[in-house]
Structure formats: structure tokens, C-alpha cells
Symmetry: C2
Subunit: 219 residues, 2 copies
């Protein structure tokens, strides 16, 4: 059977979220590049995959999906095994904790951390836009408050949803990996349990593979 | 058994999301008010429920949850029946479409529509802050583009995820209900399939009950 397809530039952080899930479950897949500079994401072919013209999109046979978190959950459900069960939907309480910390990533952690990634890496190195240091400073202040809560949580649990790795943890990889290439990576040294959690994530073979293939550009 | 508890002001739109799910599944519940002006959401009692000090929070026995979408999914899973199955997690493709349109609400529809609600209702009527008409105008332009995509989707499907009502639809209720109390509600008249979908949502007994108990303030 033809493998599933992910549409989008492999380096895109939201594409990396999907591809990481595919690696974690050991699925066969193909990444089909979308040339954003050539506006391929607004082409009729791509709008048929995602009517909002964004990346990533995903194809499994006649099923077309978009939104990286939705695609990722489809993958984690479809290829779930007793060993790789990142959503824990068979366990009411565990699934709830996975959902809580997945939402925390989307609505609290990501909005604090991702502006630093945009300002220090994506804008200056990939778009030719200079770093806005005011945005960086404000985001770091927000991020410190978030990391305080994470430090307390991770001093009691090995991973965010509990003592098992889950989609909630994986979701933190794409942007945190780029954050760690900014001059502000040292911030994590002040939160030893967060740092140890990040090292546990980075030690996963699937994470190492995606880290190697989507390394951030160097200044 | 003691009913489950929702912590937060009933009128809060994110509290309404959770309470609507409780009504849809017919669960017994209690809403415990949190006095935001008295900073009760930053009290030690509430921080034990949600370390970020936000509302809503939720209690079911010894399980404490926060993040309204995560709480809602817990409720929809716990009280799922053959008749009321809003997440469709037993069906890979249906669950994926519920997830896609739930993410579209969170990352595309809500960011376009909610500023109009804040600027026209929440800020002027509940916080004494005047409406910023520039923000309103910019948000309406974004919202039009989103509603064009919704119009195409809903001309082929009765509800967002398919021909079944789901969590994806329910998620649109809290803020759209308040939007419909702004002078910009007429915008929906230009999108007849969206308008008909909204009327299908509003006709649901659970929605009518929450609409009646959390009506927006009047100018």
C-alpha cells in the first residue's frame, strides 16, 4: 500500500510535529515538499487538501486532513499499540491529563516560547527580518512564569501527563528544539526538572532522528 | 454520589463551553462561582485546581482538571452513549474530522471572531473599556475569509465534521452566541449555509438552556 503523505516543508515546525508522530509509531510515510515561496500552499491542489491554504496537510488513501495536532492524533490513534499509546484514550483519567497538558502547550507554553523562536531564528535567519528584542524580552518574562509551573509539575511526574510519555510531551518538541538553538536556551538551566524532562524527550530515537533532519539554520 | 463541579463564573465563555457539554450528556453538575474581582482565581484553593490560576477548573471526585477543551472532552468521553457521542473516538475517520474542525475553531475561527466579542461586549459592558473600532474592523475582515471556507464546507455537510453534530460544533457556541448580540451579527446573513448551521446548533435543547442562563449583558 502507498504510504501516507505529509505535505509541507520538512523544516516547518508544524510539519515536524506530524513527522515526529509518524516516527514514534514507526509508520511508513512520504513528505511532499510544498514550496511556500512559489505560493504552492495557495494552489488549487493544496487548497483541496486544506481550504485555508496552510501547511501541513495529510493524505491517507482518500482521507485528507489538515491542522497538525488533528493529523498527529489521527496517526497516534491509527498506529496505536500496547507499547506506543500516546493518547491513552482507553483510560479516562490518563486521556484527560494528556488533553490538559496538550492544551497547556497550545494556549500557554507555545504563545510564550514561540515568539523567541520567531525573533531569534525564523525571522533573522530564514526571512531576513531583524530580531525585535522587546518582543523577546517580554516573551521570556512570560515563559519564566510558565516554566515555574512546569518545574513544580515535573518535580512530581516524569512526564507532563504523568509517569508515561504522551502526545502532550511530543507537542513541545518542535518549538522547544529551535528555542534551544537561541542564546536564551540557558533559561532552562534554572529549572532542573524541566531540563531533565527535556533531556528525556531529546533522548528518544524518533526525536533524535527528526532533530537531525530538521536542525535549525545557523547564524 | 456528589455531582461533578465546575469552578468559574457561569457567564465566562470558557465555563459555558464546559457546562454546555455537561448539559448535552445530561450529567448532574454544580457550578461553583469564582469571584474574579476578589482575585479568587489566584487563591491557594484555586491554584491547587489550576496552577496557572485560570478558569474554568473541574472536579470529579479526586480528579482535578483545567483547560476548558480538555475538561469538555473528559465529560464527553465519560458520559458517552450510543446516542450522544460527540468525539466519535471509536471511528478513526470521524474522530479525525472532529479534531480537524475543533482545531480550526481554536486556531482560525476563534482568533478572528472573539476580538469582536471582546471589543463590542466584554470590554465596554463588563470592564468599562471603550470599543476599539480598528480591532473590530480588522477582525471582521479576517472573519469573512474564515466564513467563506465554512460556507463551502457547510454546503456539503450538515455539521462541521460531517453529517453528525460533534464537539467541533459545540466549541463554536460560546463566542458565536455573544457575537450574535453585537451589531455585526448581520454578517452571517451573507453565508446562508453557515447561518442554517448556526440555527441548527441554537435549536438544541442544551444550547437553548445555556443561552438562556448566560445571556450577554445589554447595552
Amino acid at each position: 500500500m502507498a504510504p501516507v503523505k505529509v505535505f509541507g516543508p520538512a523544516r516547518s515546525r508544524n510539519v515536524a510535529r506530524v513527522v515526529l508522530c509518524l516516527e514514534e509509531v514507526g509508520a511508513e510515510y512520504e513528505v511532499v515538499n510544498i514550496d511556500m515561496k512559489a505560493m504552492e500552499h495557495k494552489s488549487p491542489e493544496h487548497l483541496a487538501r486544506n481550504p485555508f491554504g496552510q501547511i501541513p496537510a495529510f493524505q491517507d488513501g482518500d482521507l485528507l486532513l489538515f491542522e497538525s495536532r488533528a493529523i498527529s492524533k489521527y496517526i497516534l490513534r491509527k498506529y496505536k499499540t500496547d507499547e506506543v499509546d500516546m493518547l491513552r484514550e482507553g483510560n479516562l483519567k490518563e486521556a484527560a491529563m494528556v488533553d490538559v497538558w496538550t492544551e497547556v502547550d497550545a494556549h500557554t507554553y507555545h504563545p510564550a516560547l514561540s515568539p523567541v523562536v520567531y525573533e531569534c531564528i525564523i525571522n533573522p535567519m530564514m526571512r531576513g527580518i531583524p530580531t525585535n528584542e522587546k518582543v523577546v524580552a517580554e516573551s521570556l518574562e512570560k515563559l519564566k512564569k510558565v516554566l515555574e509551573v512546569y518545574e513544580a509539575r515535573l518535580s512530581n511526574h516524569k512526564f507532563l501527563a504523568g509517569d508515561f510519555v504522551s502526545f502532550a510531551d511530543l507537542n513541545h518538541f518542535p518549538y522547544t528544539f529551535y528555542f534551544m538553538a537561541t542564546p536564551h536556551a540557558v533559561l532552562f538551566d534554572s529549572y532542573p526538572h524541566v531540563k531533565a524532562w527535556w533531556e528525556r524527550i531529546m533522548a528518544r530515537p524518533a526525536v533524535q532522528k527528526i532533530a537531525a533532519s530538521t536542525a535549525p539554520p545557523k547564524a
